[in-house]
Symmetry: C2
DNA sequence: TCGTTTGTCTAGCAGTGCTAGGATCGATCC
DNA sequence: GGATCGATCCTAGCACTGCTAGACAAACGA
């Protein structure tokens, strides 16, 4: 049934178009500007079409989050693979993480601030999220220290970076000294 | 002019009533449920009255945030004053901070997640926010370590706690082990 | 007692997420 | 080939949002 195949392909294409449009609008004007009307106008379909792909706006955010998780994992791995000591890898990881958050604020929000209906820290967490966590765990496990669960250490490290990223971007931390804060955090968290 | 005095007092009372109502609704049903209509119904005045006190919903969030900052500072000081070593003070501080965030999620969001139109980390930052930061800085300055700016250390410590609080509450960190994560964070951040 | 000011309310605007029901198009069957 | 039927999509509309203009009444000063 080549016809059905084609339709399925077209539907998948349109779904990608929706996610890309949502991401683009969010990155340009913030998530508040991602309304179903603007979105439908952007993809040149009417609003109800959105709801034949996603249960609602929340699921669209979730789709953007999954896309972002894959990219973030790739960025993390690219950064760590270029360093050759455990400590250098972790420093590179921290910088890459914060760099990603700063360069893709809307995607970052979809992943870690907004409600995209995704399940975290659970066995049926979506694969991209698990893999993103793994991309942090790999280099961090090397410096967790004796008797410290690598996963838990990764959670703490991740949370700390998340705090720096969100408080920094919302203007709650001084613009200056962001680099030095990162360095201090890394040097302290790494096992002595 | 006793009449004007009375009116001024009544206005101030009503303003407190608005802030209290916003806080109560937010704490009970989340900030999304704090609509101008529900709020006006709660205080038994019409919507436009809100706008004679606050420029908009954002300012109401800001007012709740300032109230919360004062309470958080008090909680922090109460917790640290009961401990007698620098390390014990910092541990108590961390627990108190996370406890406040968990017990008052809506207020915490008003302070550190939502946009309440408040200026942070600046000379004309509102006094309650400055004082809340000071309540963190006092015990943390003791363990910042040589050659480390106490303010910057406090920022890093605070951001880390903020990350644990927000990721934890949104279900992005495992419910279990929250205490152990806090302990690990504290023990690593404190100067060796 | 009569304006004037102050305070409050009703009514409404433009926008939101989301959906019911009708139209239209294309694939299928006689 | 032409009728039928199902999938696909759109128009129109719901209940809600933050916010405001303009009417109205009460309290005030002259």
């Amino acid at each position: 049934m080549s016809v059905q195949e084609r339709k399925k392909r077209e539907r998948a294409d349109r779904e990608r178009l929706i996610v890309a449009a949502a991401r683009e609008i969010a990155e340009e004007h913030g998530w508040d500007a991602v309304t179903t009307r603007r979105l439908s106008e952007h993809i040149e379909y009417s609003q109800p079409v959105l709801y034949s792909h996603f249960r609602g706006k929340r699921e669209i955010i979730g789709a953007v989050a999954l896309e972002g998780a894959a990219e973030m994992a790739a960025a993390a791995r690219a950064a760590t693979s270029a360093a050759d000591t455990p400590r250098a890898r972790v420093t590179a990881l921290a910088r890459a993480y914060l760099g990603f958050a700063e360069s893709n604020p809307a995607v970052y929000d979809a992943m870690f601030r907004l409600d995209g209906g995704l399940v975290f820290a659970h066995e049926d967490t979506p694969e991209p999220l698990k893999d993103a966590f793994a991309s942090l765990l790999d280099p961090l496990g090397e410096v967790a220290g004796d008797g410290v669960d690598p996963a838990m250490f990764t959670e703490v490290f991740w949370a700390s970076l998340h705090g720096l990223a969100t408080l920094g971007r919302s203007g709650r931390l001084p613009k200056a000294d962001a680099e030095r804060r990162t360095d201090l955090l890394v040097s302290r968290l790494i096992a002595a």
